[in-house]
Structures are given as structure tokens and as C-alpha cells.
């Protein structure tokens, strides 16, 4: 017996799981605005607004859960999954400073400009 995996392969080659968060590009048609995607409750604030291509189609950057990705696809939306945002977040958090490199103010940042 072949078991169906709970994880489904997305068209972009990324796998999506319902409870995880993904970074996406979602197509918005020539006569549409992001408002047409309002009911999907995409998180697209403070993300860049790509200009439309020659066919008037725009691709909206957004974050959404795997279940929302599934709902978008079911509604006929083209979705490209760019990354697993949860996994990406864990990797990126390694770039946060640990402890207090300034020792309560006994040291301070040196700045980045060159004195001239």
C-alpha cells in the first residue's frame, strides 16, 4: 500500500505542509489589485511591489501558511513557494548577537564610516 504523504510538493519544487509558514510569490491578474486576494489573508505588508510584466500580471511577495497556499491553488491562483519561512527564520536567528558585546555600556559600537 502506498501511503499519501501529508506533505505535498509545490509546483516550484518546494514542499508545503499546512501548519508551516512559507514565503511566496502570488500572481495578481492585469485587472486586479491585492484586494482581490484579501480573503486569503496574506501577509504582504512592507514587502516590495514588483511592477507588472508585459501582460499586466504582477507577482506579489507574501507570507502565508501551507493551508493558505493550498487554498490559493484551489482557487486557481499561481503561487511560487520561495522558501520555508520557519526554517529560514531559525537559520537567520544565528546572526543575532549573543549576550552583551558592549558589556552594559563599558564598550560601544565603533560605527561604519571612515573618518576623513
Amino acid at each position: 500500500m502506498v501511503r499519501r504523504s501529508r506533505v505535498r510538493r509545490a509546483s516550484s519544487g518546494k514542499r508545503v505542509a499546512p501548519g508551516k509558514t512559507y514565503r511566496l510569490l502570488v500572481e495578481v491578474g492585469p485587472h486586479e489589485t491585492p484586494r482581490n486576494l484579501h480573503h486569503f489573508r496574506l501577509d504582504h505588508c512592507c514587502m516590495p511591489q514588483r511592477p507588472a510584466d508585459e501582460n499586466g500580471v504582477r507577482r506579489l511577495h507574501a507570507f502565508a501558511s501551507g493551508s493558505t497556499v493550498k487554498a490559493l491553488r484551489k482557487a486557481g491562483r499561481k503561487v511560487k513557494v520561495l522558501a520555508d519561512a520557519d526554517k529560514e527564520g531559525k537559520r537567520l536567528q544565528r546572526h543575532i548577537g549573543k549576550g552583551d558585546r558592549f558589556r552594559g555600556g563599558r564598550r560601544g559600537p565603533v560605527g561604519v564610516g571612515k573618518l576623513v
Binding site: 491585492p34 512592507c46 511591489q49
Partner: protein, 364 residues
């Protein structure tokens, strides 16, 4: 190369500046503690008496996941203080500021920087859920972790009650939301949050002539208005006029928000000067943009700051901006300025010249 500053380090940096440059710096304790009990500080930088000098107010660390904003502001203050104390200018690749530029800022204005408005949210983004945007106030969550927090940059008193002011067709999640599960939840009332109360306190106390809120990302220097397209011909079409309630926020229709020609020229002039300075560093395509060009918004810091002189005639006019640093494709992840620590250094070198240019402008 630098790792991103954590919230403890941001606080320690300000302590260090005050201790190292006592004649130039003063830490200001903000009146409201955050929900998690953090005490916030801003830093005032001025040579001699701060009174009667034009005030420039810079804030960052508002949206928790937009990492790098506090680092930019802290290092901007560090560069300025170090250069002034040594009588030097500053160079960022191809962009150079002379020693007299630095003197102009420190001696002829009062600079107030508030590098981390939302430390609870920033800490949560750094250590738990990276995509966190709001503060950590659980008052409206009813025990649901996904409903914690208020979007600080929808909680200011500028057309906060969006269902009253905006056309129903403009009611999108990016405008604002009254649903706590949404990233732009605007809170139960304007200025309900300690973070926005702290920023308002700074505005009330200092009456800045210039205000800038640092966010990421789209490579823009945004100027008012963010609620609708601008127009310069009909002063009666304005956010105060109740005759236009329920009509605002639709792009391409007949309602547009009034801005005088003079204010429009001043705002675009400043936004252009800032973006030009950032382009000069290594030709990154920063550009001035009316804030509504991103999408219509309400309850934001920049429109609130600029609207104050219209709501309270006779008060200081604050030319206000939001700088969205970094670009699509800069890193593998949009909000991260450091997929490698080298990227953060580059971002700081790009943006700090914009902040210096901003402080050198004087609204007319």
C-alpha cells in the same frame, strides 16, 4: 563584520554614548514601559543648549521583523559622535561628508534618536518567531498566541478609525485591521500602546521639524500622504473634512488628499536629497515615493507626525518620512539584512549617508 544587535546591546550602546560623549549626549528615559516591562531610552545629541534649535527625530525598530533598523540608527549616532569629537568628516565608499557638515548637525540642531521602539517584538523575532511584526501585548488575544500584539505603525491617531474615514473598497489588511489575528491590527483605540505613546511623548516634548521612521524593505524614501493620492488644488479635500468620510483610499478616483504646493515641494525635495545621498554610495536605486505608492495606509507614524500641525494649528510643522531600506533580491530573505554579516555592514553604509543628508536638510 557585525552580527545584528540584540535588544540588550542596543540599550548598552546608548549607555556607552552617554558615558563617552557626556558633553554631547543625554539618554532620555521614555515614560511608558512595554508590556513585558522593558524600559525604553532615546538619545539626545546636541552641542550646547538644545533649546531653540530645530529638532530632528529618528525612530527604528518598530516592526519587529525588519531587522537592521536599530543597528543603522545606533551606528549612525556612533559615526556622528566619533567624527564630531575628532573634528573629522565621514566617508561611505563614494559618498563623503565634510567636517563642517558634521558640525552643522551637532551644533545647529538637536538630534533625537530612538533606535528600538518595539523591544518586546524585536526580542521575540530574534529569539522565537522570526516573522513577528507587532508588539507583544496579549490584551486582545483571548489566549490565542496568533492574536497577540498590535501593529504599532497602525496605532497612531491619523484616520485610525479606518471604517469611518475610508471607502469600503479600500479596507484591506495592508490599510489596517480590527482583527487581532491580522498583522496590521490597529489596537482598540489610537495610542493604546506604550510604544506609540513613547513616540508621541518625544514629538510633544521636542516638536521636531523633521521626523523619519526607519523600516524595510523596498528601497524608498516615503513622504506624505499615505492615505490617498496627493493633490495641490482643492484644500477642502482633506482628512479633517467629514464631508469626505467613507470616500478615501481608492487609487484613481476623485478623492485625493490635499498638500500645499510649498509643502509638496519641500517634502519631495527632502526625500530626493535623502535618496540621492544613498544612491551616491554605490549607485543603489533608492528613490523618493509618495507613501500611498506602496499601498494606502492609516494610523502610521509619518502621516500622524505631519498631520499634527493641521489638527492643531500653530503647532510645529513636522516634515515626516518613512525610509524603507534594502531591495528585493538583496538577500535570500527579504527582511533580513544579514544573510551574512557583510550584508549588514553594506546596508549600514548605504543608509547612514541618507540619515546624515536628512539631518542637513532644513524645511522652508
Amino acid at each position: 563584520m557585525a552580527l545584528i544587535l540584540n535588544t540588550t546591546e542596543i540599550a548598552s550602546a546608548l549607555i556607552n554614548f552617554e558615558a563617552t560623549y557626556p558633553e554631547l549626549c543625554r539618554r532620555l528615559q521614555l515614560p511608558k514601559k512595554t508590556y513585558e516591562g522593558r524600559v525604553c531610552h532615546a538619545l539626545q545629541i546636541a552641542k550646547g543648549h538644545a533649546q531653540h534649535k530645530p529638532v530632528v527625530l529618528l525612530i527604528a525598530g518598530v516592526h519587529a521583523r525588519e531587522w537592521g533598523g536599530p543597528d543603522i540608527v545606533v551606528n549612525f549616532a556612533g559615526d556622528l559622535l566619533r567624527a564630531y569629537s575628532k573634528g573629522k568628516g565621514l566617508q561611505y565608499l563614494k559618498k563623503t561628508f565634510l567636517a563642517r557638515d558634521i558640525r552643522t548637525i551637532v551644533e545647529e540642531s538637536t538630534l533625537v534618536v530612538f533606535p528600538c521602539v518595539n523591544p518586546d517584538g524585536v526580542e521575540f523575532s530574534h529569539t522565537k518567531r522570526y516573522l513577528w511584526r507587532k508588539n507583544r501585548n496579549p490584551a486582545h488575544s483571548k489566549g490565542d498566541a496568533k492574536k497577540i500584539g498590535v501593529d504599532i505603525n497602525r496605532n497612531y491617531d491619523f484616520m485610525w478609525d479606518f471604517k469611518k474615514f475610508f471607502h469600503p473598497a479600500a479596507w484591506t489588511d495592508s490599510l489596517a485591521s480590527d482583527n487581532p489575528a491580522i498583522e496590521t491590527f490597529h489596537g482598540p483605540e489610537p495610542f493604546s500602546e506604550p510604544e506609540t505613546q513613547n513616540v508621541r511623548w518625544l514629538m510633544d516634548r521636542f516638536n521636531p521639524v523633521l521626523f523619519l521612521d526607519l523600516h524595510s524593505y523596498d528601497g524608498d524614501v516615503l513622504f506624505s500622504w499615505g492615505s490617498d493620492e496627493n493633490q495641490i488644488t482643492d484644500p477642502s479635500q482633506n482628512f479633517i473634512n467629514p464631508a469626505h468620510n467613507g470616500k478615501r483610499g481608492r487609487i484613481g478616483d476623485t478623492y485625493r488628499e490635499y498638500l500645499s504646493m510649498r509643502d509638496y515641494e519641500t517634502a519631495t525635495g527632502i526625500a530626493t536629497a535623502v535618496s540621492d545621498a544613498m544612491r551616491d554610495v554605490r549607485n543603489r536605486p533608492y528613490k523618493p515615493l509618495q507613501a500611498v505608492g506602496l499601498y494606502p495606509t492609516c494610523g502610521t507614524s509619518d502621516d500622524y507626525a505631519f498631520s499634527r500641525h493641521l489638527v492643531h494649528p500653530g503647532s510645529t510643522k513636522t516634515f515626516s518620512f518613512t525610509l524603507e531600506f534594502n531591495f528585493e533580491g538583496d538577500t535570500k530573505d527579504p527582511f533580513l539584512v544579514t544573510s551574512s554579516p557583510k550584508t549588514l555592514d553594506k546596508t549600514m553604509r548605504d543608509v547612514i549617508p541618507g540619515l546624515i543628508a536628512f539631518c542637513l536638510t532644513r524645511p522652508t
